[in-house]
């Protein structure tokens, strides 16, 4: 009994179910960190523009984030980024932080600011 409880606890912890969040939670969090309201319009421009690097966000995620994207290097499909099209997006803090860190470095050679992240999420949430 105790063993099975322990195993269940490990699975819940490992799957991140204990800290499930919604895309709106992340929008709020990054807006709070930035100290300003997010702008979906700014997010759209940011997402599709290149920032000195070879790739924009849209290079892999496309300019229509309700559709599946394609990895710019390996050509492998990437599931849609907009939460309306893919319920798994922006529901796990560890994953959100990990992929913002990696992808911002790849596209901008620096970390994204909280405002940039809030703008992108606001834009992604504008797709119904």
């Amino acid at each position: 009994m105790r063993t099975s409880l322990l195993i269940a606890a490990i699975f819940i912890a490992a799957s991140g179910a204990g800290r499930a969040e919604t895309p709106r939670d992340f929008l709020t969090r990054f807006e709070k960190e930035a100290g300003t309201a997010a702008s979906a319009e700014r997010g759209a421009r940011f997402f599709t523009a290149r920032h000195g690097g070879e790739w924009s966000c849209a290079s892999c995620h496309t300019e229509r984030p309700t559709q599946a994207g394609r990895h710019a290097k390996t050509d492998k499909p990437i599931s849609a980024l907009a939460p309306s099209a893919n319920g798994e997006r922006f529901t796990d803090a560890a994953k959100v932080d990990k992929w913002f860190r990696r992808n911002c470095n790849d596209t901008m050679n620096r970390a994204c600011t909280a405002q940039e992240k809030a703008d992108v999420i606001a834009w992604l949430l504008s797709f119904k």
């Binding site: 490992a14 799957s15 991140g16 070879e54 892999c60 990895h71 710019a72 290097k73 390996t74 492998k76 499909p77 798994e88 796990d92 560890a94 994953k95 990990k98 990696r102 992808n103 470095n105 790849d106």
Partner: protein, 182 residues
């Protein structure tokens, strides 16, 4: 003719080639993990690592004496005794792998299999988010083991007055130590 009466062959050539190839492929995979630009190289290094470990598992049964798992299978008793001798500043000398090193080897082999399998699954989008996390955790765990391994090599080399890095390159060790168990 490198053979002299004072040195003895410990690590066979396949074991040495495996060791340095594994170190190189893990290092390449670890460094290329952070950017999508290097994803192709990362995946290639991962396949290399998996193939090398498959070879090493086989070699652990059919290789030469000190390459065989039976030669350095670490029992809890042996590990505790070795760590105690290490803490006392007089570590027991083994010609082959010492029991603490042996634990690290089995953990690294297992970690390598887990990291390669979970990486393959993540890359081919089977297994989802959980295996992605397993991949990250296993890779970081392996890096921690590698760092402990490097520290162990430095400490052991110093305490035993033998150059273990050189031994893993030439395959030979000095025999002036008493090593009844080999």
């Amino acid at each position: 003719m490198p053979s002299t009466s004072q040195t003895v062959r410990v690590w066979d050539l396949p074991t040495r080639l495996f060791h340095w190839s594994l170190a190189a492929s893990f290092l390449v995979a670890f460094i290329t993990a952070e950017s999508e630009k290097w994803r192709d190289i990362h995946v290639l290094a991962g396949y290399g690592l998996a193939g090398l470990i498959a070879f090493r598992v086989l070699w652990g049964f059919v290789g030469s004496r000190h390459a065989r798992f039976a030669d350095f299978l670490p029992t809890p008793g042996k590990v505790v005794a070795y760590l105690e001798s290490l803490l006392a500043g007089r570590p027991r000398h083994y010609l082959g792998h010492n029991p603490a090193g042996a634990v690290a080897i089995f953990l690294l082999l297992a970690g390598g299999l887990i990291v390669a399998a979970s990486g393959y699954a993540t890359y081919n989008e089977i297994g989802g988010h959980l295996l992605e996390e397993v991949h990250d955790v296993a890779a970081n765990g392996m890096m921690a083991l590698v760092i402990i391994h490097l520290a162990g090599v430095v400490v052991s080399s110093w305490l035993h007055h033998e150059n273990l890095v050189k031994a893993m390159i030439t395959g030979r060790k000095q025999t002036h130590h008493e090593n009844p168990a080999g």
